[in-house]
């Protein structure tokens, strides 16, 4: 089975969600995570493979910009069209209150000089949302049925 954590970006809060799900992030030390603010990865648009969980499910992180629900819908329909099911791929959207600000900061941060300024702000925003991200991951963990 494959699990995709989907949010506005795939390199911030969804990355944290994926690591929380994998049990690899107990403290809020997320700025050292692999792929944290990795803009090149994000631009490609491909889901970012994070790791396998204990049941050998593959865990990914993905950004869908402003259109999280639309992206979720497309992925779920694509899975069905290609004759697969929820047992093969699950999309878990991760929402945070400040996701519009986060995406705005991410967009203006594409200029290197600006990025140095916005990155601490992004980190601060994520810190504020950490509990909400954790809660969504816990809900997902308790609700998902594995193949």
């Amino acid at each position: 089975m494959n699990i995709i954590f989907l949010g506005t970006t795939g390199i911030h809060h969804t990355l944290i969600a994926a690591h929380l799900y994998l049990g690899k992030l107990e403290q809020e030390s997320y700025t050292n995570l692999k792929f944290w603010d990795d803009r090149k990865r994000e631009e490609i648009g491909y889901p970012i493979f994070i790791d396998y969980d204990k049941k050998r499910n593959k865990v990914y992180s993905l950004g869908g910009a402003w259109e999280i629900l639309m992206t979720q819908k497309s992925i779920e329909q694509l899975v069905k069209i290609m004759d697969f099911s929820e047992q093969d791929l699950v999309v878990k959207p991760i929402f945070i209150k400040r996701e519009r600000i986060l995406l705005f900061l991410h967009k203006i941060g594409r200029f290197k000089i600006v990025n140095h300024l916005v990155l601490p702000v992004i980190s601060y925003l994520i810190k504020k949302e950490f509990a909400a991200i954790k809660q969504q991951v816990e809900e997902f963990k308790s609700g998902v049925r594995f193949a």
Binding site: I4, G45, W66, L78, I81, M82, D88
Partner: protein
């Protein structure tokens, strides 16, 4: 093989390309207003259709043709679709075609007026004119896609 044509609204360029692929339109001359309006989904979508992968038909090589509106996500959606295909191990069974590059200003303005503002009387003639102007480029895109599909099928059969 599944082929997904996608554009902003999944209502004009992608739908016209899919119709061309399925032989619903004559490739040798731009379509009339009536011919365009006969195409399923052409200038008929609403907000709930964004993100929906809609079936248009099956071509003579058994390829299923779909259309999709992905708003302003641009090339990013190509990555998402092909990324999911890669995860599922089926990249040889999927072709996604971004039609956004062929959308001209008439299609953008007409499409926006017709679909977003719901002023079909004003927007439809403009978007139809834009579609007719972009027609031969769409024909070219579809021909390339058909070749790509055949090549992909042949290489999949060979392996």
């Amino acid at each position: 093989m599944k082929i997904i044509y996608h554009c902003f609204g999944g209502s004009h360029s992608s739908v016209t390309a899919a119709a061309l692929h399925l032989g619903m339109l004559n490739r040798n001359r731009p379509p009339t207003v009536e011919e365009l309006m006969k195409i399923p989904y052409y200038d008929k979508t609403n907000d709930s259709d964004f993100g929906s992968i809609r079936y248009m038909g099956t071509d003579e090589y058994d390829n299923e043709i779909y259309v999709l509106g992905k708003k302003s996500l641009g090339n990013r959606y190509s990555g998402i679709l092909m990324g999911v295909a890669e995860i599922l191990g089926i990249t040889d069974q999927l072709i996604e075609v971004n039609c956004m590059n062929l959308v001209n200003w008439s299609m953008k303005i007409g499409g926006f007026t017709s679909r977003r503002l719901r002023l079909e009387l004003l927007g439809r003639p403009v978007v139809v004119w834009g579609t007719q102007k972009a027609f031969y480029e769409l024909v070219n895109l579809v021909e390339i896609t058909r070749l790509k599909a055949r090549r992909k099928k042949i290489s999949a059969q060979a392996t």
